[in-house]
């Protein structure tokens, strides 16, 4: 009886070994070959002179990857700012490049963790303090594209008691209760509030910030007068009862970028072709369908309203988004200044330089058709 | 010269169970004199406990009535010793025995004194601050007896108080009960299964039939007081025991039969 058990064990070991070989063989076959990049295989922390990220419709031209590859993209919300990736998917622009896209929906901190563990290739997010802290903690994170040169209609909204857009004096913020997005001044979506505080020489510790994970509830509280102000953006701005609040400070100036796509060096170094293909599709989508006043294009509006789960009327209530994938050089110093005003937000001292975080080489390679 | 303390006339009790009427007790006619120790002996389910509960006021008859003539309205009317003790596990022995006095709003210090006396008489001295969970069955029943006596009620009701105890403990507690009762000579209604217990303790024995419970016989116990265990050895004891047993045997053997003898 003992002899046959040993034989059985040997048989099991052989089968396990074969299975392991088989699995590793499949894995080897699946990993893409390294493609040589043409121009900007090194990191680009700023847009080179003479390079433009926008172009004529139907450019950059379809390139097609040699083998179909899959990219997993993390999405935290469904706002109009994220329209390019959804529209590209719906119009088949990724398929044209032989790129398969899996979407993962989760919160930004979770998505950053997944990114760090290489379970997700790209994450759309705001350039929150978490990104900087993760970089300093050893996650090789890279900010690979911006989103827009402005977020129309978003920013700090104040109750009508405090004036109008043209007459607002930010020093009145002292002692008020302001609704903010979760994370408060650790997220760049609140840059409008920060800019107003700076203008009015009010420190964040002199106001009461109330975080709301449910933005509709925050707008209701603003309407009801429980909040004296709130940082809101479309489509939630449509919920503000007319005559109760005005926009006191825009979301952010065009000299900085606050959001975009984040990846790790795993994508920018090891899977460049897939990354470039992704942004080729994105840029082509923006150039073709999302340029100028695309709110007039009924087909695009219909597709967007379906994908974002809203109505064309709600989408049309705010101006169209001026999509722009650039990350201006003033961005990192401005954001880190904002995060530094609240203690315990940044886990490090000193400043992160663009060369450590920003890498525009993927979007530039995509635009230049390389 | 004995005066009647309790008289039951045409007393009946029925209740409804699963769509048919169960005739538990009656009709019975009973008269009890003040100071009498009356034992009620009968088979299970003949309504003995029901009779006691009606006297205690825990249940009402469905026909007939009981009249109780009170001589001393300042004292409570009755107190009861239950088969499964009925003493409160959340009170100490002292608090349990003192309970009827607390209900009667006797001042605490006086109540404690009286309670301690009865604790001593019942033989549980030294356990005043113990909780019932730490006491044996016999001790708990002594506490129950002490509690029943402490209020000095006009009628003492005992519903098979020694049924859950072992034979030797029973004998001891029977003696204790007699000793304690001799001191106050209150009226007692004592329900039991045990014929020899009834003969030992009581002045009068009411032999009841099986359901519906009716009085088969009303036997006067001839032995003199104070009673000792010596009465067990007498010839009359054995004869009475046999006599009562014959009366009960029919009821016990065809329990559940509908024609009970009058």
């Amino acid at each position: 009886m003992l002899i046959s058990t040993r034989a059985r064990l040997i048989r099991l070991a052989l089968m396990a070994g074969l299975a392991a070989l088989g699995v590793s063989g499949i894995a080897a076959a699946k990993s893409p070959t390294k493609t040589k990049t043409k121009y900007y295989s090194r990191q680009l922390s700023a847009l080179p002179k003479g390079v433009s990220l926008s172009g004529k419709p139907y450019t950059p031209a379809v390139k097609r990857l040699k083998q179909t590859q899959t990219l997993t993209v993390g999405i935290p919300s469904k706002l109009e700012l994220e329209a390019p990736v959804f529209l590209a998917y719906d119009e088949g622009e990724f398929a044209k490049e032989h790129l398969r896209i899996n979407f993962v929906y989760d919160t930004v901190p979770d998505l950053l963790t997944l990114l760090g563990e290489n379970k997700v290739d790209l994450v759309y997010a705001g350039a929150q303090a978490a990104v900087f802290n993760a970089l300093k903690a050893g996650v090789p994170i890279r900010w690979v594209s911006g989103v827009a040169s402005a977020a129309p209609d978003s920013g700090l909204y104040m109750s009508d008691k405090y004036g109008t857009s043209s007459t607002f004096n930010p020093s009145v913020l002292k002692g008020l209760t302001i609704g903010v997005n979760p994370g408060g001044l650790a997220a760049p979506s609140e840059y409008g509030l920060y800019a107003a505080l700076k203008k009015g020489h009010v420190s964040p510790s002199q106001i009461t910030m109330v975080p709301f994970s449910n933005i509709s509830a925050m707008v209701s509280a603003l309407n009801a007068g429980q909040l004296q102000g709130a940082t809101v953006g479309p489509p939630y701005t449509a919920g503000i009862t007319p005559g109760t609040a005005f926009q006191a400070e825009p979301g952010y100036p065009s000299t900085i970028q606050i959001a975009g796509y984040f990846a790790t060096t795993n994508l920018t170094k090891n899977h460049r072709a897939a990354g470039i293909a992704f942004f080729q599709a994105i840029e082509r989508t923006i150039n073709t369908y999302l340029h100028g006043n695309y709110h007039k294009d009924q087909i695009v509006m219909h597709l967007l309203s379906q994908e974002l789960g809203t109505t064309t009327q709600q989408l049309g209530a705010a101006p169209p988004v001026p999509f722009n994938l650039n990350i201006p050089p003033a961005t990192l110093p401005a954001l880190q200044q904002m995060y530094a005003t609240v203690p315990n937000t940044l886990s490090y001292s000193g400043l992160v330089k663009p060369s450590q975080l920003v890498d525009l080489s993927l979007v530039v390679d995509a635009a230049e058709g390389q | 010269m004995s005066d009647t303390i309790l008289s039951a006339t045409a007393l009946e009790r029925s209740f409804v169970a699963k769509q048919h009427v169960v005739h538990a007790l009656g009709p019975v006619d009973i008269e009890v004199s003040r100071g009498e120790f009356v034992a009620i002996v009968g088979p299970s389910g003949c309504g003995k406990s029901t009779l006691l509960r009606i006297v205690a006021g825990l249940a009402n008859p469905t026909a007939g009535q009981i009249q109780i003539r009170r001589a001393d309205p300042l004292n409570p009317l009755c107190s009861m010793v239950f088969q499964d003790y009925g003493i409160f596990p959340w009170k100490t022995v002292l608090a349990n025995v003192r309970f009827p006095l607390d209900i009667a709003r006797v001042p605490r210090r006086r109540a404690n004194e009286i309670a301690r006396e009865w604790i001593e008489r019942a033989g549980v001295q030294g356990f005043e601050s113990a909780y019932p969970a730490t006491l044996s069955g016999g001790m708990r029943q002594r506490v129950a007896i002490a509690r029943a006596f402490v209020a000095d009620p006009e009628i003492l009701l005992m519903d098979e108080p020694f049924a859950a105890l072992d034979a030797q403990l029973r004998l001891v507690l029977q003696q204790e009960l007699l000793r304690v009762w001799e001191q106050s000579r209150r009226t007692v209604l004592f329900v039991t299964h045990s014929i020899d217990e009834a003969l030992l303790l009581a002045d009068r024995i009411l032999v009841t039939s099986a359901r519906p419970g009716r009085v088969l016989a009303d036997i006067r116990v001839p032995f003199s007081r104070p009673r000792t265990r010596a009465v067990r050895a007498t010839v009359e004891f054995g004869q009475l025991e046999e006599q009562i047993w014959q009366m009960l045997k029919g009821g016990v053997e065809d329990r559940g039969s509908d024609d009970a003898e009058a």
Partner: protein, 289 residues
């Protein structure tokens, strides 16, 4: 045993069975003391062992310390958070909200539960309504709380109170209704009126079951307050945990989680101790019998 005995019988040898004292019989006090010592070592040692394993996993790279920090890092972050006051104020806020909400829930629950237990009219009217409300997820109603009570501590305290209240009221009602008839009869025979019945019999008889419910809801209170702080408001340990995750500071986040857990353990232990004193037959005995 049997095969050996049969074999012995076959061979004709005589087998003797011996009953001799074991360690527990030779010196029972020493045996009991040693057993208690082993029990204490196991009780304290298991968490220490787990923390040690965690540290080893972190140091040897089995877990990614960028996202799951080592215990030493979490300890340092926790000490720093207490040092700069953020953890202290968060813990104070959570404890305060918990005590107020839990206290109100328990008192209201016991009071209404007693009423329902004693009055069949109240019970018939309210019992099924309360059961229906009890099964409703209170978290879904929280936006309504925000509208009614505003933002800040009040809606959170109300949520804790409500969550605790429904459990306590139903448990108390059941406990009162289940007081054995024998105890009620005993008191009634001795002439107790309703108030005396309540004080001497019903309340003490129902206390053990009520105490169990109170002890269980202590844990539920912690869960609810930390939970709601994670999704709403800007105070307390839940908010600290959430906010530290937002900023990518896992060390302080886990420190907050551990502090919340410790508060839960200590709070439940305190409640259990208080209840033991309130239930006479379970009071810790000072004298050995």
């Amino acid at each position: 045993m049997t095969p050996r005995r049969e074999r012995a019988r076959d061979s004709g040898a005589v087998v003797t069975v011996t009953r001799a004292p074991a360690a527990v019989d030779v010196d029972p006090t020493r045996y009991a003391r040693r057993r208690r010592a082993v029990g204490t070592v196991l009780a304290w040692g298991t968490p220490v062992l787990l923390i040690l394993l965690w540290q080893i996993a972190a140091s040897s790279g089995w877990i990614d310390v960028r996202f799951f920090p080592a215990p030493a890092t979490v300890w340092k972050a926790g000490v720093a958070a207490f040092g700069n006051g953020t953890m202290t104020s968060a813990a104070e806020a959570t404890i305060a909200k918990l005590l107020i909400g839990y206290g109100i829930g328990v008192i209201a629950g016991v009071a209404l539960g007693l009423l329902l237990g004693l009055s069949w009219i109240a019970r018939s009217s309210l019992e099924y309504t309360l059961i229906a409300l009890y099964t409703l997820p209170k978290l879904a109603l929280f936006p309504a709380f925000l509208l009614i009570f505003g933002i800040g501590w009040t809606p959170q305290v109300v949520l804790v109170g409500v969550s605790v209240f429904f459990i306590i009221v139903l448990a108390t009602m059941t406990a009162v209704v289940s007081v054995e008839a024998g105890y009620r009869d005993a008191a009634t025979v001795f002439g107790a009126n309703r108030a005396q019945l309540l004080r001497h019999v019903i309340l003490p008889a129902a206390m053990p079951a009520i105490g169990t419910a109170i002890r269980l809801t202590a844990g539920i209170g912690i869960l609810v307050i930390v939970g709601i702080e994670m999704v709403s408001g800007s105070s307390g340990l839940g908010y600290l945990i959430f906010e530290r995750a937002q900023v990518f500071d896992p060390a302080t986040m886990y420190a907050g989680v551990i502090v919340a857990g410790l508060i839960g353990v200590i709070f439940t232990a305190l409640v259990t101790l208080l209840l033991r004193c309130a239930i006479p037959q379970q009071r810790p005995r000072l004298r050995r019998r």
